[in-house]
């Protein structure tokens, strides 16, 4: 049976039962007390069965009270007009009680659902943090042991050192991928607490280049940065991830001799940052597709690791109310993102 209908039927049945129980008592009890019994029934129905059945029960109770307990019996008419007031108050109290009780139930359930969501989120966060720890631990051993192997190659063939270096670089690359994956998971869960601070944008250029270390070491990096940039409000760790991903991609998809350009400027109330590389371009039609690879999970990226990095960039820029586009300009592949300038806090001179 349909559960909704069954609740209404149950409400009708309870009203009938109350009428049956009260009937033998009608010569003993004041009518005011009979009213109380009916209101009790309405209240119980409101708590157990919800608002709809309770409203029905309120009306049924008034009718049953009139028909079986108010003279003349078995008729809707009343001898004494003051019972109309009783009916009205009884109905009003029944409706208000059913409304309040139903709301109370709904609120309790809401609180329970919220508590459940918090627990789920806590579990998710602790899983993410333990995955992050568990993945970084073996990667740390790999990087460190490969480094010490490369250092002690005296007496070993030269290619041992070279191979150890490759193992170390690959472990670093894997670490960046893992970091991107974990960031993406955190961004998608909407759980990222952004640490927005007013700061010079150039600061994260230096730290990103230092973080990428060997990836950019042999590359020509041209930085075009105006001297008088205003402070920008952003999360430095997340924005550093954006720059690292863009610079790493630019290095990965262009020949070693090709230059990488990083240009920053202000334009129409926004800060505009572009990372370009010569020697390779994005797919000619729909270059913006490069941001989707990971999100859609449909196409196989031509080179491993493309989708995730750019998808993370887009999620981070979106969280900063910025925009990001990929385009081919003058034979270069360029990713350009913007951030709102806003109003930086004042700086007093000395």
């Amino acid at each position: 049976m349909n559960p909704v209908w069954s609740r209404y039927l149950l409400a009708v049945a309870l009203c009938a039962l109350m009428a049956l129980l009260a009937l033998p008592l009608r010569d003993w009890l004041d009518l005011a007390n009979i009213v109380m019994l009916f209101l009790l029934a309405v209240f119980v129905i409101a708590v157990r069965l919800g608002r709809g059945p309770a409203v029905l029960a309120a009306f049924l109770s008034v009718i049953a009270f009139d028909v079986f307990f108010v003279h003349p019996y078995l008729s809707l008419g009343v001898d004494d007009a003051q019972y109309l007031v009783t009916f009205a108050v009884m109905l009003a109290v029944g409706l208000i009680a059913s409304h309040q009780a139903a709301q109370l139930v709904a609120r309790t359930e809401e609180a329970r659902a919220r508590e459940h969501a918090i627990q789920t989120e806590k579990l998710r966060a602790s899983i993410l943090s333990s995955i992050s720890h568990d993945l970084r631990t073996p990667l740390t051993s790999l990087v460190g042991l490969a480094d010490s192997l490369a250092d002690q190659q005296a007496g070993l063939p030269a290619e041992v050192g070279e191979k150890a270096g490759i193992i170390r670089d690959q472990a670093h690359a894997m670490h960046r991928m893992v970091s991107n994956l974990l960031d993406m998971a955190r961004l998608q869960s909407g759980r990222v607490a952004m640490n927005l601070q007013w700061q010079p944008f150039e600061e994260i250029i230096g730290s990103s280049v230092r973080l990428l270390g060997d990836v950019l070491a042999s590359r020509r990096l041209e930085i075009d940065l105006p001297a008088d940039l205003p402070l920008i409000r952003f999360d430095a760790v997340l924005m550093e991830r954006v720059l690292c991903n863009l610079l790493e991609n630019a290095a990965k998809y262009s020949p070693p001799e090709a230059a990488i350009r990083l240009a920053v400027r202000t334009l129409d109330g926004r800060l505009e940052v572009s990372v370009c590389n010569t020697g390779s371009t994005f797919p000619a039609e729909r270059p913006e597709q490069v941001f989707d690879l990971f999100a859609r999970g449909l196409q196989e990226p031509a080179v491993a690791g493309t989708g995730i990095g750019l998808a993370v960039c887009r999620a981070i820029i979106a969280a900063h109310a910025g925009t990001i586009v990929a385009a081919n300009r003058d034979g270069q592949a360029c990713v350009t993102f913007t951030l709102p300038l806003g109003t930086p806090p004042p700086v007093e001179g000395e």
């Binding site: 992050s132 720890h133 790999l142 480094d147 601070q197 994260i204 730290s207 760790v237 700086v347």
Partner: protein
């Protein structure tokens, strides 16, 4: 004088192994500890110059370890942290740690940090008047700063910030710490001043201000002067 002793507190044996190997290559004696308890006992045994500490130990929270050690020792502490959360790093620095490395890290980076902290420790609390890096020379007493022989003019606050960084070479200083040390208490809401003044120092002193080699940014945490 015997070799400096370095206590390595790390529960992961493979990481402990290569860290100790690197420490020994640097001419130090390494003492391995797989638990916080063993680490504290090794340090209390004496003759130790530096502590390398993993924040994620099985028997004690890393922050508590630093707090406990700081009640009876001022030995330099280098943190190894598998966590990416900047809040944990700031908490470790506030508790008294000197520097941190985020896993994974290279042996070269580990040794660079090790050398700076050991040198600082060897100097003890002795103040140094003249500091040199690249072609820059700073006299902390006469407030004279020269770059390639030419005098560089610094404002009072710029100089104070530089002095704090130099006096704490190799140590990560949080934004809040620098704000208090240079501007004084009651400026907690104005951390952007630290960032602006660091930018000015880089403009005046670094070879390439966009890719600084000495006044380094620890993203989301603070700054570190690398001699």
């Amino acid at each position: 004088m015997s070799d400096p002793r370095v206590v390595v507190v790390e529960d992961e044996p493979q990481i402990r192994r290569f860290v100790c190997e690197a420490v020994r290559k640097e001419g130090c004696a390494s003492v391995e500890a797989g638990t916080a308890r063993a680490g504290l006992e090794a340090i209390a045994g004496g003759g130790v110059q530096l502590v390398i500490l993993d924040l994620g130990l099985p028997d004690m929270n890393g922050i508590d370890f630093i707090r406990e050690l700081r009640t009876w020792s001022q030995l330099p502490i280098l943190i190894l942290s598998a966590r990416a959360a900047e809040q944990d790093k700031i908490a470790a620095l506030d508790a008294g740690a000197d520097d941190y490395l985020t896993k994974p890290f290279g042996v070269g980076e580990l040794l660079a940090r090790l050398r700076v902290l050991l040198r600082r420790h060897a100097l003890g609390n002795e103040a140094t008047r003249i500091h040199r890096f690249d072609d820059v020379e700073v006299d902390l007493v006469s407030h004279l700063v020269r770059k390639a022989g030419a005098e560089v003019r610094l404002t009072q606050l710029e100089f104070r910030l530089l002095a704090v960084l130099l006096a704490n070479a190799g140590k990560v200083l949080t934004h809040r710490h620098l704000m208090q040390a240079v501007w004084g208490a009651g400026h907690a809401e104005q951390e952007h001043y630290v960032r602006i003044y660091v930018g000015r120092l880089r403009q005046k002193l670094e070879r390439d201000p966009t890719q600084p080699g000495h006044i380094l940014t620890e993203t989301g945490v603070g700054y570190r002067f690398q001699p």
